[in-house]
């Protein structure tokens, strides 16, 4: 063995700075341990154990990414593994955010899996692997690594979207997501090809140095490549001309998956978008800023206005996420360090709001995860004060009302836009925030209004469905899943094993989902009251950002 190593030419060995990839390795390693362990056992592993392992792996990743962050603070940013990835404040920030999101998503997923009586480690394995893709995107220093991270993130999400095999909508959502996602990946790849052809490299700092050292007179090919990259990222981030998949996929996917998708897919897409556009193509700012301006305005206005007329809360939140994408693009459009800081702050705040909102939705959706009409939220505060309170908090924060993280996030990106003299954009953003405030507050008012006639109907319907979840009935009254009644009955029993334990209540919050909600709500309120910590974190993340 040593002889073999000695025989290896020195130029063929790559020095690996393990600290820079340890957070990803923790997630991937956790996934493999779960997979191997559960396949070695004769009896299927209890979901509780799988969830605990997932949370453990994600917590380990969180700790390791914080270590990476402090290492970067003390020793400076550096590239690792022959320039494939970079370890800087930005990548550490993304890693922290993604790990935290995995903790929450695993807890929410646990409650949902027990409710649906789905056994097996696959959900958590896919969540872990998908999250590692988002982390790779945050740390990528080469366009091909960005592409691979994007694919790891997306392909796992396609499967997760199809995870609820009993609901037909889930499969449809997955198929739609897959076709449009595959299309956008191909567009993105062609964009990489054109950038490679124009600059001669796919390495992000080298693209930047090529553009700095060469004045490219005829750069049509480069700009075409840049446009295709923007289209690819726009699809993943659900920005407006490329948002067509969002409402259907958000509605059709299982609710915990939707929350994960809304948070982590956006984080990955925006992290790579910010790094590629601001650090590599920063010199071409004047060329891409108008395009980003148009996309941001379209996302802000369309997201806010179409959400107003939605009757389904998941569709409403899908359009709201489009609106949020517009806000995050504000930071990109500014093209400055301040803008990147604002976008990172917004991503952090939004991730927990999205995860929390969809956690509540997955509880309210009930067995079968099929009832998401807004009517179902009428009088929720009376039936489930804690659940309604949590959702109200997340919606109020998304509307940008202080003292929540949502307010500071909006403030940060608006300051960045104003700092870059994009006053029109800032005004449009504020206008869209006002429009968006209506539909968030409408749901809040609905929850705290006394249950009317329809509310009673929904409540009785809930009880019936809890007793017989096999006949899961969608909003439109179509049967959306046919499960044999016998097995589903055990699901109803499993449902009652929750901390509230009130069998009279049709809605039961699973204990794990309760913890997840507490985490999200805590992050929203604590960081909303003490915003300095997160502001500093986001600021440090951009100071070390390789320009």
């Amino acid at each position: 063995m040593t002889a073999l190593l000695a025989a290896t030419p020195a130029h063929l060995t790559v020095k690996i700075a393990y600290l820079s990839i340890l957070p990803m390795l923790a997630l991937l390693g956790g996934a493999l341990v779960i997979l191997v362990w559960s396949s070695l056992l004769r009896r299927p592993l209890e979901t509780v154990w799988i969830t605990s392992l997932t949370v453990l792996a994600a917590t380990a990743a969180l700790v390791l990414s914080l270590m990476q962050y402090f290492d970067v603070i003390h020793h400076g940013a550096h590239v690792a593994i022959d320039g494939a990835i970079v370890s800087d404040g930005f990548s550490a920030f993304v890693a922290v955010l993604v790990s935290a999101a995995v903790v929450v998503a695993a807890l929410v997923g646990d409650g949902w899996l027990q409710q649906e009586t789905i056994r097996g480690p696959e959900f958590h394995v896919l969540v872990l692997v998908s999250a590692s893709g988002a982390m790779v995107m945050g740390a990528a220093n080469d366009l091909i690594v960005v592409f691979l991270g994007l694919e790891i993130l997306s392909i796992a999400l396609y499967v997760l979207a199809a995870f609820n095999a009993r609901r037909r909508q889930s499969g449809e959502a997955a198929l739609k997501y897959f076709v449009l996602g595959g299309f956008s990946s191909a567009v993105f790849l062609y964009g990489i090809a054109l950038v490679y052809g124009s600059t001669g490299t796919t390495n992000l700092p080298q693209i930047a140095s090529y553009l700095a050292q060469n004045y490219v007179l005829h750069n049509g090919m480069l700009l075409a490549g840049l446009a295709l990259l923007l289209v690819g990222f726009g699809f993943k981030a659900a920005a407006v001309p490329f948002h067509l998949w969002t409402p259907d996929v958000y509605q059709g996917s299982p609710s915990p998956v939707t929350g994960f998708m809304a948070a982590v897919a956006k984080v990955g897409a925006f992290a790579a978008l910010l790094r590629v556009f601001v650090s590599s193509f920063g010199l071409l700012r004047a060329d891409w800023q108008p395009a980003v301006w148009v996309i941001a305005v379209a996302s802000l206005l369309l997201g806010a206005s179409v959400a107003l007329v939605q009757r389904d809360i998941k569709r409403m939140l899908a359009y709201s996420s489009i609106n949020h994408a517009g806000f995050i693009l504000l930071g990109l459009q500014a093209g400055s360090t301040k803008g990147v800081e604002g976008s990172l702050y917004y991503l952090f705040a939004y991730s927990f709001l999205a995860l929390g909102s969809f956690a509540v939705i997955s509880v309210v959706g009930g067995p079968g995860d099929g009832r998401h009409g807004l009517d179902r939220y009428r009088g929720l505060a009376r039936r489930q004060p804690w659940l309604a309170g949590a959702l109200a908090l997340f919606l109020v924060a998304q509307a940008g009302i202080p003292p929540t993280t949502g307010f500071w996030a909006k403030l940060e990106v608006l300051q960045a836009a104003a700092g870059a003299h994009s006053y029109a954009l800032a005004v449009i953003a504020m206008l869209s925030a006002v429009i968006a405030g209506f539909f968030y507050l409408r749901v809040v008012v609905l929850m705290y209004s006394p249950a009317g006639a329809t509310g009673d109907g929904a409540a009785t319907g809930t009880i019936v469905d809890t007793v017989e979840p096999a006949r899961a009935v969608g909003d439109e009254g179509e049967p959306v899943g046919v499960a044999p009644g016998g097995e589903a009955g055990s699901g109803a029993v499993a449902l009652l094993e929750a901390d509230t334990g009130e069998s009279a209540e049709p809605l039961v919050i699973p204990g794990t989902t309760g913890i997840a909600l507490a985490l999200c709500a805590g992050a929203t309120v604590v960081l909303g009251i003490y915003p300095a910590w997160l502001t500093d974190f986001a600021h440090q993340a951009t100071l070390l950002f390789h320009p």
């Binding site: 494939a84 990835i85 056994r119 097996g120 896919l126 392909i155 095999a165 052809g197 090529y210």
Partner: protein, 221 residues
């Protein structure tokens, strides 16, 4: 041939080497006929076979550009695995009937799509025509051809490619394993029977087998 630009149009001149020229023309024709047939063909089986044609043409073009290893992988992976998978699924689902593409639910969509295609192509072409390709950048990953004067006697491409994959692209190579994990786990998840209730008593492998034996009756109705 002026290196580094589509701008000067001298590349439109037919090159002296007629064999290379004819190879290009034939393989380009194969590629385009196959691609158009994938889009036009009503029968999915024939569309898949047209896809093989295109993939083969692309492989020939790879060989022409001294990417011999990639040409082999292209044939093995694409034609050998991916298209076979397509054909398997087409047959498995029994959707090999002709699809009536003349009855479009949205009239005029087709026209706009073709217009969009023309615009995409013309846009890319114009962007390319008005651009200067990068050249002379210090190569990160290593030079492809260390003997430009005699390309056929240079270091074989598989050696160069292997070196770069295990050095510069080591990280990229390693994380592709995550993709394969996803593909395996995804196949297991998706092969589950819907509505089978708790899968507690069965292993995933057994579920898969059951699906494969049970399905043909269902789809053949």
């Amino acid at each position: 041939m002026v290196p580094g630009a589509l701008f000067h149009f001298s590349w439109l001149k037919i090159p002296a080497n007629r064999i290379d020229f004819l190879t290009f023309v034939f393989s380009a024709a194969i590629v385009l006929v196959g691609a158009v047939n994938v889009v036009r063909q009503r029968n999915p089986v024939l569309a898949a076979l047209s896809l093989v044609m295109t993939l083969f043409g692309v492989a020939v073009l790879f060989v022409e550009q001294q990417a011999n290893f990639l040409a082999a992988v292209q044939i093995i992976v694409y034609a050998g695995a991916i298209v076979v998978l397509f054909l398997f699924v087409i047959m498995f689902l029994g959707v090999d009937r002709e699809e009536s593409i003349s009855e479009e639910p949205l009239r005029g969509q087709r026209f706009w799509a073709y217009l969009l295609m023309a615009l995409t192509f013309v846009g890319l072409l114009l962007a390319g025509l008005g651009s200067r390709f990068g050249s002379g950048v210090p190569s990160v990953a290593g030079t492809l051809n260390d003997n430009p004067a005699h390309p056929r006697s240079a270091t074989p491409d598989v050696v160069v490619l292997g070196k770069s994959v295990f050095t510069t692209y080591l990280f990229a190579f390693e994380i592709t394993s995550a993709l394969l994990v996803i593909a395996v786990v995804g196949a297991v998840v998706l092969a589950r029977r819907p509505g089978a209730g708790p899968l507690a008593e069965e292993d995933d492998d057994e579920v898969e087998v059951e699906v494969e034996t049970a399905e043909p009756e269902e789809v053949s109705t």
